[in-house]
């Protein structure tokens, strides 16, 4: 009889465990909160505004994102550059940018162009007096076509030689636009 009682106990306890685990199936399907879906690099010189945009609604799928450039840059011009980041999946799309701005010490943007006479300099600094790169000044000289690459490093060595390859850290953004100076 003892064995039977014990068996009953086993069965009951297993039922109890099963019961406990059965949580209600609420909608706990998550959307990507952390991702950056949109990068806008807006270059302004008076009425001459050029916007470079990278957009990928779901960066974690196996589909590549899209590049768009609103127009050509003008030769011998100095633009004020402003970089904005968004997460289009988030109701508060600019939240991601605020978060990175709050951790400026751990982040830095790097700008490079194959058009050799373009110069881009970062104008904003973190609390330690090191460059960040949300705000820039871009100066063009001669006409030409090439790429403009923007890299965001997380936890780079700061200060550094402004070369993303030597700065260490891990890459959060690496986008490369085709631009024309005319």
């Amino acid at each position: 009889m003892k064995t039977i009682k014990l068996l009953a106990l086993l069965f009951i306890s297993s039922l109890v465990f099963t019961g406990c685990s059965d949580d209600d199936h609420d909608d706990d399907h998550d959307h990507e909160e952390e991702v950056i879906t949109t990068l806008n690099y807006t270059l302004t010189n008076g009425n001459d505004v050029v916007v470079l945009t990278y957009f990928d609604l779901d960066p974690d799928d196996s589909v590549s994102g899209t590049y768009s450039v609103s127009g050509n840059l003008t030769a011998n011009t100095t633009y004020t550059g402003e970089l904005t980041l968004e997460n289009a999946n988030d109701e508060d799309a600019e939240h991601i940018q605020e978060e990175i701005e709050a951790e400026k010490e751990e982040h830095e943007f790097f700008y490079t162009s194959t058009i050799s006479d373009i110069t881009i300099s970062k104008t904003d600094m973190d609390d330690n007096g090191n460059l960040v790169g949300f705000d820039t000044t871009l100066t063009t000289v001669d006409a030409g076509t090439g790429s403009l690459t923007i890299v965001l490093k997380h936890e780079p060595t700061k200060p550094n030689d402004d070369n993303s390859t030597n700065a260490g850290g891990s890459t959060d953004i690496e986008v490369s636009f085709t631009v024309e100076v005319e």
Binding site: S13, D56, D60, T165, D172
Partner: protein, 801 residues
């Protein structure tokens, strides 16, 4: 009874055939514990009608020579054991394995012979308590690597997955306390959650011949066994402290056991492990510490006729993962591969920062058995497991302390096993299993779950038999059937569902019709029927030789990650894609073992061949351009594969105090579909041990070990080129090349002293990586980023009381 009569008649017939009365026969064998198959030393073997005596030796062996043909009545007795009387009609040399119901011995150190078997014909190897203790502050996988044919797939030095004959994860069954472990074993970086300190013996079965635990043991079975307790009034325990220079940490384990004459026992065990950053010969591995707390509690009742065993264990692991292994894109990976050192090298710290894993595993079970006269033993068991896995990545802002992966896996099962052993020569095991499993991808991670919510039901039934064909030969055979049904809930982007994978045409029945933005909600549902079988033959010759032959048919259903993975796997920095089209994997494994069990000169040669149809592998497929830049995509695919090799073990007594022990493992894996080598196959390796022992002087033992792991030259070339926009050039991504051959030397020494009244104190000193060699291991997932560990000095103090 009918079969017993039949057996007698057959025996009589055979004995009548014996031409003349010849008194040259030998009755030999081995006496072992009925429960855990440990050998019994000093058992008396008395042939009553001839009044001949002998006792079993240190290996449990005995031999009585010059016996005549005819009936002998043998009484086998041992301290605190029930006497066993056997009537045997001797017609030839006879070898017998005699099981005694035994208890008291287990209070002392348990002596195990190297080939004590779960099944008589299976090819197994064991790790006994003393060996496990020297791995007290390491993992299960680290200890198992000492067995030939077992290697490990690691993530850094702390996350270690065992690998048998090149196979790991879902292809190995890990059985802890008779409960099959379910802890999200599908990921390469998911180590089994078992505290090695809670184990008394670990058995490794190389192959699919143990149908009792499942049909999917394509690689093999690892059985973690607890201690059996004596039926007497006693209170005893042990504490072990282990301290290391590398990682500046260690482990403390303590256990206390109370046993009663009535058969009741109670056991409590706890271990705490803490390490900081480990060090290679040249630099600290920043963020590689561990924090573990494990506890287990066991109580039960033990008698020959009936008993029960209740067990609960809790494992809480926190593993830091090398900070430098966090990469953003392929170019970061290239930079890591090309630079000789990890990008972040800080001073020593105990801090556990991101990336890290935090895993909690609960396991509980109740097992009860009853023996029935003229039938056998019926065992019933109920168990449950909860596995909570959180993986943390380097994130920004509010999400810093939020895991990227948060999964809870709940498993419960009810099972029965009936051992029919009342027949002299035939032993049958049969049983039923019902299991329910539920995975919950817990919300709030801010990421799409890599593994979706699912529910799974399993039902299994098996029958295995072992038949003593004649005096030296045993045959075993078994079949098993498993039914599984799995139902998941998962969103796909409509675009991928319809166009990329064409699932809308392949699996329209999975669609629920619910569309959420650009996503379609689906409910994939599968049912699988799996058949598995085993066939074994063993021959035990009188001169310590034995020959074992095994065939195993195993069948494994695709695991959830192979079916449903779809997205970024943060901890591996790649997009992993599983497919709903996966089918089950079927394997045929043939193995032979020729063994000689002898302490003067023994060996085991074990060649094997495993053909796996529909082998599921995860391989680099492509790259995708994301905002982070170029990012690798890995796909699961299915191919036909073969893995074959040989394991060789040798032991030789050089002199009274010197012993040699060594093993060699050779293995080749082929992707037959594409005619290329199989990915992630262990390289050839060889181990040599020379041990000096002096029992007179505090049981002094000094062991020098050498291990060489040869470069794996057979690997599939999945290298590719990617454009680096910063450098404006294509860079070559060499993810396939393997690190060169390395050799390690380890030293281990121990001494025992008497302490207090009845206790013993054992002190162990060891040095790992004696020459501080810098090396990288092909099967370490972090081999692109950093070297393996440098020299470590370890001191262990164990007190038995």
């Amino acid at each position: 009874m009918k079969s017993r009569k039949l057996f007698l008649i057959v025996l009589l017939l055979i004995s009548n055939l014996a031409i003349s009365q010849n008194c040259t026969y030998t009755f030999s064998g081995i006496v072992e514990d009925f429960h855990d198959k440990s050998v019994l030393i000093g058992a008396t073997i008395h042939i009553k009608n001839l009044n001949k005596y002998t006792t079993s030796d240190v290996d449990g062996k005995f031999k009585i020579e010059n016996l005549c043909v005819g009936k002998i009545i043998v009484e086998i007795s041992h301290l605190a054991c029930d006497k066993l009387i056997l009537e045997i009609d001797l017609v030839d040399d006879l070898y017998r394995i005699i099981d005694l119901e035994h208890h008291i011995e287990e209070l002392e150190e348990v002596h195990l012979r190297s080939n004590s078997k779960t099944e008589e014909t299976s090819i197994e190897q064991n790790l006994k308590k003393e060996v496990l203790e020297s791995f007290s502050d390491k993992s299960l996988g680290d200890a198992l690597v000492t067995i030939s044919g077992v290697s490990s797939l690691t993530t850094g030095s702390t996350i270690v997955k065992p690998m048998i004959h090149g196979l790991h994860s879902s292809r190995l069954l890990i059985v802890n306390n008779n409960v099959r472990l379910f802890d999200q074993d599908w990921g390469d970086e998911h180590a089994p959650n078992i505290d090695i300190n809670s184990a008394n013996t670990i058995q490794v079965i190389k192959g699919a011949n143990t149908l009792r635990y499942g049909s999917d043991a394509i690689g093999g079975v690892i059985i973690v066994k607890p201690k059996k307790h004596a039926v007497k009034d006693s209170l005893f325990g042990s504490s072990l402290l282990s301290l290391n220079t590398n990682g500046q940490g260690g482990n403390f384990n303590t256990e206390i056991i109370k046993t009663y004459k009535s058969g009741y026992f109670f056991q409590l065990q706890t271990s705490i492990k803490r390490f900081g950053d480990f060090k290679t010969p040249d630099y600290y591995l920043t963020n590689t510490g561990i924090k573990n707390i494990n506890s287990s509690i066991r109580f039960g009742f033990n008698s020959f006729k009936k008993g029960f065993d209740a067990y609960y264990s809790f494992v809480d692991n926190e593993f830091a993962i090398l900070q430098s292994s966090h990469i953003g894109n392929v170019n970061d990976l290239v930079q890591a591969i090309n630079s000789k050192e990890p990008r972040v090298i800080d001073d020593f710290s105990y801090d556990i920062n991101t990336p890290k894993q935090s895993i909690q595993h609960h396991l509980g079970k109740i097992e009860a058995y009853q023996r029935f006269k003229d039938l056998g033993k019926l065992t019933l068991q109920a168990d449950f497991q909860v596995n909570r896995r959180k993986e943390f990545d380097t994130r920004v802002g509010d999400l810093k302390d939020v895991p990227v992966i948060d999964l809870r896996l709940f498993t419960t099962s009810l099972q029965s096993n009936l051992t029919i052993d009342y027949l002299e020569d035939l032993k049958i095991n049969t049983g039923l299993l019902g299991r329910f499993q539920q995975n919950d991808a817990i919300g709030g991670t801010g990421t799409e779950p890599l593994i979706p919510d699912y529910e799974k039901f399993d039902f299994g039934t098996y029958i295995t038999g072992n038949y003593k064909l004649n005096l030296i030969t045993e045959l075993s055979a078994g079949i098993r059937y498993d039914f599984s049904s799995i139902k998941a809930e998962k969103s796909y982007s409509i675009w991928e569902w319809d166009d990329t994978y064409n699932y809308d045409e392949l699996f329209p029945e999975f669609e629920t019709g619910v569309i959420d933005g650009s996503d379609v909600l689906t409910e994939p549902e599968y049912t699988f029927h799996c058949f598995s079988a085993s066939l074994g033959l063993s021959k035990h010759y009188t001169n310590d030789f034995s020959l074992l032959m095994n065939y195993g048919l195993a069948s494994r259903i695709p695991n959830p990650s192979e079916l449903f993975s779809d997205g970024l796997h943060h901890s591996t920095a790649r997009i992993e894609v599983g497919f709903l089209t996966m089918e089950k994997e079927n394997a045929h494994k043939f193995s032979i073992a020729l063994e000689r069990t002898n302490s003067n000169f023994g060996f085991a040669i074990n060649p094997y061949y495993n053909y796996i149809k529909g082998y599921i592998q995860l391989i680099p497929f492509d790259t995708v351009t994301t905002i982070r830049g170029s990012f690798p995509i890995w796909h699961y695919n299915q191919i036909d594969a073969q893995i074959f090799g040989v394991d060789i073990d040798i032991n030789k007594r050089i002199s009274d105090s010197f012993n040699y022990r060594g093993n060699l493992s050779l293995l080749q894996g082929d992707n037959l579909t594409e005619d290329i080598p199989l990915i992630h196959m262990p390289g050839a390796n060889i181990t040599n041990n020379i041990t000096y022992t002096n029992k007179e002087y505090h049981n002094l033992s000094v062991n020098l070990q050498h291990k060489t792991v040869f470069q794996q030259n057979r690997y599939p070339d999945y290298n590719f080129s990617t454009f680096n926009p910063v450098l404006q050039e294509n860079v070559y991504v060499d993810i396939s090349s393997t690190p060169p051959t390395y050799s390690l030397f380890n030293l281990n020494s121990s001494m025992s002293f008497n302490a207090f009244k009845e206790g013993t104190l054992k002190v162990e000193f060891s040095v790992h990586n004696l020459f501080n060699t810098s090396y990288r291991e092909h099967l370490n997932r972090l081999r692109y980023y950093a070297d393996e560990l440098g020299r470590n000095f370890n001191v262990k103090i164990k007190l038995n009381y």
